[in-house]
């Protein structure tokens, strides 16, 4: 259980700046996901925390102690690499024991901890196999066990599930989350998949081009993105231009919409209205609407199993609405959209 603090960290490779002045705190026992598109600098951040890369400026603190000059071997952080990086010439057992063996720990202790780890990752039957004889999910579990056995102060994982198929990813996510909760490990998990980030994280750090764009719990990030780029990356489907005409009113393509009071935006400001597809209710009769009713015609219907996504035409604009697939409305129908003021999020420019 260790608190990680990156203070004013910058990293340049030659003339290229990969990380710009990063301030980030990961509380002890917290599960933080670094989320961002490929090439935004996620791996570089992990490598700096691990000590594989030296920051060009700033410092890295573990529980308040500056470790910038501590060599990799002595930082006692755990890192699971993208492609597991199991030692191919060692069996599963030898791989898991590596960290203790290089520390020269007594045999008895190694045996005991090995059994404990095999229990956690459920790999008893595979202990004498070589990595080439394991599936992708098993390899990642060995890699995790190999890291956990050293009792790292921080567990870092760099896109550990990238190569796995959808179903296995779901199982592995649950496994990682369970282990993290059980051991109450400070964890930094890297991914470019926003769904994965939301499922796992206590807090998500969204990173674009080496800058921290937003650092918030998943629900807040989803409902209240700090900027267009974050909203876009989180997969928000409806974003429209508008003007704030009163403290709680926006003029938009749908006419005037009531919104929650916007203390951050000055009157007359141009804003972007963000409407999440599942926050809009559809009604067959205007009388059933509770907040503000907008007429629309269904032009497209995408059935996704549990939910269904409609594309509606409201005058000249199109808007996506998603609802549970309990009922299905036909394409061509005219319906009423109901928009609650608190579900409208404004992004100022």
């Amino acid at each position: 259980m260790t608190k990680v603090h990156l203070s004013g960290v910058r990293k340049s490779f030659g003339s290229f700046t990969a990380i710009e002045h990063l301030e980030l705190t990961i509380e002890s026992g917290e599960f933080v996901v670094l989320l961002g598109p490929s090439g935004c600098g996620k791996t570089t951040m992990l490598r700096m925390i691990a000590g594989l890369e030296e920051p060009s400026a700033g410092s890295i603190l573990l529980d308040g102690a500056d470790v910038s000059n501590t060599p990799v071997q002595e930082r006692n952080v755990g890192m699971v690499f993208q492609r597991a990086a199991l030692f191919p010439h060692m069996t599963v057992e030898k791989n898991i024991l590596f960290g203790l063996s290089v520390r020269g720990r007594p045999r008895g202790e190694m045996r005991e901890k090995l059994e404990e780890m095999l229990e956690i990752v459920q790999l008893h039957d595979f202990r004498h196999r070589f990595p080439a004889q394991l599936s992708g999910g098993q390899m990642q579990r060995v890699a995790i066990a190999r890291t956990l056995i050293t009792e790292p102060s921080v567990l870092m994982m760099d896109e550990p599930l990238a190569g796995l198929d959808t179903k296995l990813r779901a199982t592995m996510r649950r496994f990682i989350r369970d282990v993290q909760k059980r051991l109450r490990l400070t964890t930094i998990f890297v991914t470019h998949d926003q769904a994965e980030a939301m499922e796992l994280a206590d807090r998500i750090a969204v990173i674009f081009d080496g800058r921290l764009a937003q650092y918030a719990p998943p629900d807040l990030l989803y409902k209240r993105p700090s900027c267009m780029a974050v909203a876009d990356f989180m997969g928000v489907s409806n974003i429209f231009p508008g003007t704030l005409v009163a403290k709680n009113r926006v003029e938009s393509a749908f006419g005037q919409l009531r919104v929650d009071e916007q203390p951050r935006c000055p009157l007359g400001a141009t804003v972007s209205l963000m409407l999440r597809a599942e926050a809009i209710d559809l009604h067959e009769h205007k009388e059933d609407t509770r907040f503000q009713a907008i007429e629309g015609r269904i032009v497209e219907r995408d059935f996704l199993g549990a939910s269904v996504v409609y594309t509606l035409e409201c005058g000249a604009t199109r808007i996506a609405v998603s609802e549970p697939s309990r009922r299905l409305l036909d394409v061509g129908r005219t319906v009423w959209l109901d928009i609650a003021p608190e579900s409208v999020w404004l992004l100022s420019h």
Partner: protein
């Protein structure tokens, strides 16, 4: 892991082909072995008219294999020298080439292509030119006629091959294994001994085998720098056949000269086949 398909039977053509290959490679050794057992074998006889064993009792001095195994032939001395020089050259060559290959495979630096060119220079220069140049230098340094001088000389034609082989295996070895080992707490030496070296082992074995075989076959450099004081199997053999005739004892020494390579190949073949390399 792809494994070769196991077929129960080879087709007659495949069998003929393998036999023909074996005959082509091993064929020339047959007359050599017969010669080593002969007392008189004159053209155009298919087999010797008189055999060594028939003449053994009558002869005053040792004949053929008796001579080869007698102290007069100096075969034992030459064999020991050959193996010592070969082993030392191989170990030194590895020690020099491992760090060099690591840099060549992983780093980009100015002058890299020049370094690569200089490393292949010994392949282009005539062996005699290298030998004579070294001789001039080594006489000055007092290294001529010494083991050290010969071993250093043997490094020159072997380093280019070793560097190439090891660079190729280093290129195939991503940095993540070594980095992972460091994060897990391994010191630099532990990383090298427990991760890097075992993972490079196929290349190291191939390079070492090649270096040893080349070293045990070098004649000219050994001849020039040994100054007659140090003999190896190739120089001994040359002195035996330089008269123009190949008698039974020369043939016997030739057979002995093939042994270090064959023994080494058999040893390493078992090693390469070990289960530990299932992962590759």
């Amino acid at each position: 892991m792809r494994r070769p398909r196991l077929t129960d039977r080879l087709s007659p053509f495949q069998r003929f082909y393998l036999l023909a290959m074996a005959a082509f490679i091993l064929g020339p050794f047959l007359p050599l072995i017969i010669q080593s057992l002969a007392f008189r074998w004159a053209w155009p006889d298919l087999l010797p008219s008189e055999w060594w064993l028939e003449q053994r009792e009558r002869s005053i001095g040792p004949l053929a294999w008796d001579y080869v195994f007698s102290p007069y032939s100096r075969v034992l001395e030459a064999t020991v020298n050959t193996v010592i020089i070969g082993a030392a050259a191989t170990i030194l060559c590895l020690a020099i080439c491992l760090p060099a290959a690591r840099v060549l495979a992983r780093e980009r630096f100015r002058g890299k292509s020049a370094v690569e060119f200089f490393l292949s220079l010994p392949l282009i220069l005539p062996e005699a030119a290298i030998g004579i140049t070294l001789l001039m230098v080594f006489i000055g340094l007092g290294l001529a006629g010494s083991y050290a001088g010969i071993i250093i000389a043997h490094l020159i034609p072997t380093i280019p091959y070793m560097v190439r082989t090891l660079t190729a295996v280093y290129q195939g070895l991503g940095t993540e294994f070594e980095e992972q080992a460091m994060v897990l707490g391994a010191s630099r030496l532990q990383v090298f001994l427990r991760v890097t070296l075992p993972m490079l082992m196929p290349g190291v074995v191939a390079g070492a085998l090649f270096t040893f075989l080349v070293s045990t076959n070098i004649f000219l450099l050994t001849f020039l720098l040994g100054q007659g004081r140090i003999i190896t199997l190739p120089t001994l053999l040359f002195s035996k056949v330089s008269g123009g005739t190949i008698d039974a004892s020369a043939a016997g020494i030739t057979v002995i000269a093939t042994l270090p390579g064959i023994v080494l190949l058999l040893l390493t073949e078992r090693f390469i086949r070990q289960k530990a390399f299932d992962g590759y």
